[in-house]
Symmetry: C2
Subunit: 351 residues, 2 copies
């Protein structure tokens, strides 16, 4: 497959969509992207696995990273792409090959951008973070990620979604003593003991802090519950799986302390943790971008890879074509207007 | 295998124990029992599947059924039998080949009992009730079960345990609305909604009614709980599995009405129901047996096949060698003294 960077951004999106690239199968698309970028003399290209980085080096005062992942979730009878009434349908149209196509157009058409640019096309975002190409790059080549500002082209309705909330999972465990249910008074029922765990969750009042003018919204939810040995046994264990989504003004340590205090008196085990990302809209590079896009930035509630940049001290926002509500759906699609709008805004801002 | 009915009851127990008869593999043991019983001219023998019935027909004023199942739970490295310090160890010693051996001794030695006798050796008690040989007999040959009194030789420490409690299972279900846990306020968490279900179970106070001088003890317990779609989804369903053990003064309809009222406001589905059995110790035949055994009868908390007799209007008790706490255990065993005591008491009462 050969990409034609002189084609319009919608044609380019279709080419990318019709190149199968479910996670762990990114070789073909990464080869095509690398090959296309290597034809552009103003870019220095680096390949790591199926992650491709292309940089200008013009000695500009600022450097901006523009990043997008090349993989998709599994096929769901939604290929090849189909263009209908100004909407492009198909796997990866929304998440996030529309964004990737915009990146390719910027790379090809901006030989002399007003800020130095680093394009990162990366592998394996839709699977376990251990495979994530961007995360790997933060470890293998942190210098390639150095920048004053980063734009992650995840679908956000062609508007700015800033920062992201952190996510933490804990198991809240109650214990008891087994007994035959015909003589239940000889045991202690661990499921009954979980009543106050659920009662506290019912009483939870979400914090909605304002950060850089954006209103975040925390959430504390049981996402699973399990307990039981057999139909005639008083169970000796019950586990409530809880997911805490926390605003980016909390550190991981804060989040953990909060949850432990919330479930005081119960056994709490942290099973997963990913810090949030502050919007960073007070930074000069971010401010300029917000002005260029216009409109009101929104807070990002879900966790995204912008947090990887925050860890490196680089302010980052989500800005990409497509409605995130349709990501991972069978009827995934992206409005052509979104893709064109993102291309136009970024070109203007970077010219 | 050939059973020697002239041997003592312990030797006979060992012969039965060493004849493998895990549920659905009762042919060999049923053949041996049938063959041995057919040598006794005072008995009329009927075979149904691997269930064997033997009856005297002396025109006595009363008829007593003595029943025991021939199957065992699965082998657990606990065969062959081992006799040590007056205790017989091995699969089925307690549940319930000690009782079966007593039955065989009564059948062989009581050619002219003072009450007509019906011995029922039945298959498949330890598995789904659809296979239960005694239950099948209540449908195919109810006349074979006609009696004034029934003794089920289930392990009960060689003492009388009267009646049995009923058991009922229900699913208590809460529903909600799915949402991504990053925007949890857009959904309704079904697990959180289960809080009052568990709270009510915590507040439950067990009824302990006295029936025929025996104190029963009800119980209402969550034996399982499940809910959850994925780690990042607010779940739309939670199911609490509840087991109600009810005293035999409640009918099935009473039990269901009680549980539905208890969980008023929640969706309740009955998944299993087995009525209890009244002790029936006020009946003349039962009274005479209690006097013969001596000591105080105890209430039976767990459900047993005595309920099959109650359904037919026949008062029934559990009376057999072995401690029921060791039934289904790897270290199952029966004290020789229990087996001998049951044989002696029954022979005296029936001579």
């Amino acid at each position: 497959m050969q990409l034609d960077l002189s084609a319009d951004v919608v044609t380019l999106t279709r080419q990318l969509v019709d190149t199968f690239s479910v996670s762990h199968h990114e070789q073909e698309i990464a080869d095509a992207v690398e090959e296309a970028l290597r034809t552009l003399p103003h870019l220095t290209v680096t390949r790591r696995g199926h992650t491709v980085v292309a940089r200008t080096d013009l000695g500009r005062a600022e450097r901006v990273v523009v990043a997008g992942h090349l993989d998709t979730v599994p096929l769901n009878d939604n290929l090849p792409s189909r263009l209908e009434d100004g909407v492009l349908h198909g796997l990866g149209t929304c998440d996030m090959k529309g964004g990737d196509a915009v990146m390719l157009k910027l790379a090809a058409d901006l030989a002399e951008p007003n800020r130095d640019l680093t394009f990162i096309f990366y592998e394996a975002e839709e699977v376990d973070s251990v495979h994530n190409g961007l995360r790997k790059l933060t470890e293998s080549d942190p210098d390639l990620l150095e920048a004053d500002f980063a734009i992650l082209m995840e679908p956000s309705n062609a508007a700015i979604e800033a920062g992201c909330q952190g996510t933490m999972r804990v198991d809240v465990r109650t214990t008891g003593e087994r007994a035959h249910s015909a003589r239940s008074w000889k045991g202690v029922n661990a499921i009954h003991r979980a009543a106050p765990v659920l009662a506290r969750l019912n009483d939870y009042v979400a914090r909605e802090p304002e950060i850089d003018g954006l209103t975040y919204h925390e959430g504390l939810n049981a996402t699973g519950i399990r307990g039981g040995v057999a139909g005639n046994v008083v169970p000796d264990e019950c586990v409530v799986e809880v997911n805490f989504r926390f605003a980016p003004d909390r550190s991981e340590a804060d989040a953990e302390a909060y949850v432990r205090a919330f479930f005081d008196g119960f056994e709490v085990t942290v099973t997963d943790m990913a810090a949030g990302a502050l919007p960073g809209l007070d930074r000069p590079a971010a401010k300029a971008f917000v002005d260029a896009v216009g409109g009101e930035p929104a807070p990002k509630f879900g966790w995204t890879d912008v947090a990887q940049f925050t860890k490196l001290g680089v302010p980052a926002v989500n800005f990409g074509p497509g409605d995130p509500m349709f990501a991972h759906k069978q009827d995934e699609h992206v409005p052509v207007e979104h893709v064109e709008r993102c291309e136009r805004i970024l070109k203007e801002w970077l010219s």
